[in-house]
């Protein structure tokens, strides 16, 4: 293993040695890069940024994975909006890891929406949405993904979190998807405030809307919870009572 890979950087002018650093990383194969990157992060973050995300960075999943523990240092050199898409482009099969780190660190970032589209083949947006689900920006993130057409990601997020915001975000764009998301949220958490979120977007008389999500309910608990919240929704309440009689 080379001295550089051992993190022995003392006495080196790292900017002048950049070509050698790049070559060492490019030729490292499967050799660990963690020690070198930790040393670079401590001594010269700009050199680290050049090596992992610069215009001549060799890239590859091995390099990007070794860089991810140092994203806080890299963000001091490169804006997140520039850093993560660049890491993503260089990441090969580590793309989902880049997206996950970016989403965890910047849940409110709008640039994660197009990045999600590039990174996720199924349930596009789900990684970002799940990361944002405990952040104050969650409703806005849901709207951004809804406007980008990331329906499955929103429905999956509703199913995994029980949150009602995905349904509300879809409501003005794709009614059927909104109802699926609402049903999924209630399936995960029967106490989910789905009615509140739907009514806030739909209007003060949501009965005709809410009654349409009943066929998508998959659990008695969800149906009972919705009935409990529907005391001023006569069509919904009547339909739920009939449905509950046939539910085990």
């Amino acid at each position: 293993m080379s001295a550089l890979l051992d993190g022995k950087l003392d006495g080196l002018d790292l900017r002048a040695e950049l070509p050698r650093l790049l070559a060492t990383v490019r030729d490292a194969g499967d050799q660990p890069l963690a020690v070198l990157f930790a040393a670079l992060a401590a001594k010269d973050p700009v050199a680290l940024a050049e090596v992992v995300a610069g215009s001549r960075a060799p890239g590859g999943a091995h390099v990007v994975r070794a860089a991810l523990p140092h994203v806080a240092v890299l963000e001091a050199t490169l804006s997140p909006r520039g850093l993560y898409p660049r890491l993503f482009d260089l990441s090969a099969e580590a793309a989902s890891e880049v997206l996950a780190v970016a989403a965890a660190r910047h849940p409110a970032a709008s640039w994660l929406v197009p990045l999600s589209k590039k990174a996720e083949r199924f349930a596009v947006g789900k990684t970002h949405l799940l990361a944002a689900s405990t952040h104050p920006s969650f409703a806005a993130v849901c709207r951004a993904h809804a406007e980008a057409g990331h329906v499955d990601g929103l429905v999956c997020t509703a199913a995994e979190t029980g949150r009602a915001e995905p349904a509300a975000a879809l409501l003005g764009l794709d009614l059927d998807a909104a109802l699926r998301a609402a049903g999924a949220a209630l399936g995960r958490d029967p106490a989910s405030p789905v009615l509140a979120h739907l009514a806030a977007v739909w209007g003060p008389e949501p009965d005709a809307l809410v009654v349409r999500l009943i066929p998508g309910l998959r659990s008695r608990a969800a149906a009972e919870a919705l009935l409990g919240a529907a005391r001023h929704l006569p069509r919904t309440a009547a339909t739920l009572r009939a449905v509950l009689r046939g539910m085990v």
């Binding site: 806030a200 003060p204 008389e205």
Partner: protein, 171 residues
């Protein structure tokens, strides 16, 4: 059935805390549109609207339109004090018995009447039905009979087109 509508706010969740309804109380037809806790979050707004729906569901026939409005406003004044003390209540209530049509309101900067999809203002600036938000005090005023009355809360322009959609009225 005659209706009261309230224009929704700007933004992605225009109907936080909104409720609307109409019912007959003896000879009097009462229509209402309110926004309770509209400045609160979505969930608190829904809870507040549900509490106000309870209020209207519990009203009983008490006499003429003026009496019905006094009773309805008194009931609204018993809503949770956190919504009243911060003035987070906009309301339009219209009662008619065919010979008399009266309204009580709070938090409105404009009031329109609509017939056949045509809306016309019926309260000029300074009209006593226009004023600060909060529980209406029960004072009512004559308004023209109409198919629908549309209240305009502060800070919102009257919609130039598709008034029903701006009020959350869905086909």
């Amino acid at each position: 059935m005659r209706h009261a509508w309230l224009v929704g706010s700007a933004g992605r969740t225009p109907f936080v805390g909104h409720l609307r309804g109409a019912r007959d109380l003896g000879r009097v037809h009462l229509a209402w549109a309110c926004c309770v806790a509209g400045t609160a979050g979505v969930v608190e707004g829904w809870e507040a609207a549900e509490a106000a729906r309870d209020v209207f569901a519990e009203l009983r026939a008490v006499g003429d339109p003026r009496d019905v409005l006094v009773a309805a406003c008194a009931a609204l004044a018993r809503l949770d004090s956190r919504w009243l003390t911060r003035g987070d209540l906009t309301a339009l209530l219209v009662a008619t018995d065919g010979t008399s049509t009266r309204a009580a309101a709070s938090g409105l900067v404009g009031l329109h009447a609509g017939d056949g999809g045509v809306f016309r203002p019926i309260a000029a600036p300074g009209h006593p039905l226009l004023g600060e938000p909060g529980a209406p005090d029960g004072t009512s005023h004559d308004v023209p009979l109409a198919e629908v009355w549309v209240g305009l809360p502060a800070g919102i322009p009257f919609p130039r087109r598709d008034v029903p959609a701006a009020c959350g009225v869905r086909a």
